[in-house]
Amino acid sequence: MIVCLAVVGHENNPLYIQSFTESDDALKLHHIVHCSLDVIDERVNNPKKSSPTINEAFLGLLYPTENYKVYGYLTNTKVKFILVTTDLDIRDADVRNFFRKFHAAYVDAVSNPFHVPGKRITSRTFGERVSTIVKSFGLSSAS
C-alpha cells in the first residue's frame, strides 16, 4: 500500500504531499520524504556506473526503512516525486509504471493556468486523480 506520495520542487520545497494512512504518522512520513531528498541529491550528483540508464527519471529504491520502501523519480525540470510504500516486495516495473501515470497527472495539474509555477499544488482535481492512481497501484500489485 502506498502510504505517502510527495512532489518536491527544485528548491526542495514540498509542492504536494499526501499521506494515505489512517494512523497519525503524517509527520513521520514527512520526515522520511524529506530525508530521502538527500539520497536523491547523492544519487544524482554521484551517479554510479552500474545504474542502468544514467539520466532516467526513475531513480529506483532510495532507501529501505524498517517498515517502508522509498522510491524516487526526478523529472527533467528538477521536480522530485517520492513514493513511500509498505509493500516490501514490490517490482521496480510497477513503481516505474506508477510514476509515469503520476507524472502525467502532475503535468496536467501544473499546466492549469491558475497554477503559479513553483507553488504548492492545491488543485482538488489533481488530488482526486492521484488517489485514483494510488488505488489502482494497490490493485495491480495485489493481483
Partner: protein, 175 residues
C-alpha cells in the same frame, strides 16, 4: 488525449494580448506592458516545457536543453524546427527561424526596421512599426525563457528581426 488549437486562433490571441496591454492597460508605459507580456510567455513556456520533457531522460548540460528547444519544443509549437543554431560556447546561443510563423502576417517596412532589437527600447522609439513588432516578440521570448528556466537554466532572451521573415532569438545564459 491530444488537444489541438487552430493556428489562426493563437495568432489572433497573441495580437489581442499585445493590443490590450500596449494600448489598453499600460498605454503609456511600454516597459510595463512588455514585462507583462513576457511574463505571460514565461508561464506558458514554463508549463509547456514540463509537458514536452515528460518522456525524455534528464538533460546533462545546457546544450542538450537548447537542442531540445530547437528541435522538439519548436516542432510542438510551430511544426518545424529551428533552422540554425549558433553558439559562442560561452553561454550565448542564437536560434534562427528562417520563417517565424507569428511574424508571417506582420508587415513591416524593411528599410526602417533594420535595428529592430527589442531589448533596446530607445532605439525602437524612433520607429513605431518596429516597436509594434517588438511587442509581439516579447511573448515568444518569454516562452523560451520560461521553458529554459523550468529546465534549470536562468537566461535572458532577446529577439532580432533585422532580416525578416527570419527571426533570431538570442539566449544569454546567466553564469
Amino acid at each position: 488525449m491530444v488537444r489541438e488549437v487552430s493556428e489562426s486562433c493563437v495568432e489572433s490571441l497573441l495580437a489581442e494580448i499585445v493590443l490590450s496591454y500596449c494600448s489598453g492597460f499600460y498605454a503609456n508605459k511600454p516597459e510595463l506592458a512588455a514585462r507583462r507580456i513576457e511574463a505571460i510567455g514565461f508561464q506558458v513556456g514554463h508549463q509547456l516545457s514540463e509537458r514536452y520533457t515528460m518522456d525524455r531522460p534528464r538533460f546533462t548540460d545546457n546544450l542538450e536543453a537548447i537542442k531540445f528547444i530547437c528541435k522538439d519544443f519548436w516542432s510542438e509549437l510551430f511544426k518545424k524546427q529551428i533552422d540554425n543554431l549558433k553558439t559562442n560556447h560561452r553561454g550565448t546561443f542564437v536560434l534562427q527561424d528562417n520563417r517565424f510563423r507569428w511574424l508571417a502576417h506582420m508587415s513591416i517596412d524593411p528599410s526602417v526596421q533594420a535595428s529592430g532589437n527589442i531589448q533596446d527600447p530607445s532605439a525602437m522609439a524612433e520607429n513605431k512599426s518596429a516597436q509594434a513588432t517588438g511587442m509581439h516578440l516579447y511573448f515568444p521570448c518569454g516562452i523560451i525563457r520560461g521553458a529554459l528556466s523550468n529546465l534549470g537554466i536562468e537566461c535572458a532572451v532577446s529577439a532580432d528581426i533585422s532580416n525578416l521573415p527570419a527571426c533570431s532569438f538570442v539566449i544569454r545564459i546567466k553564469a
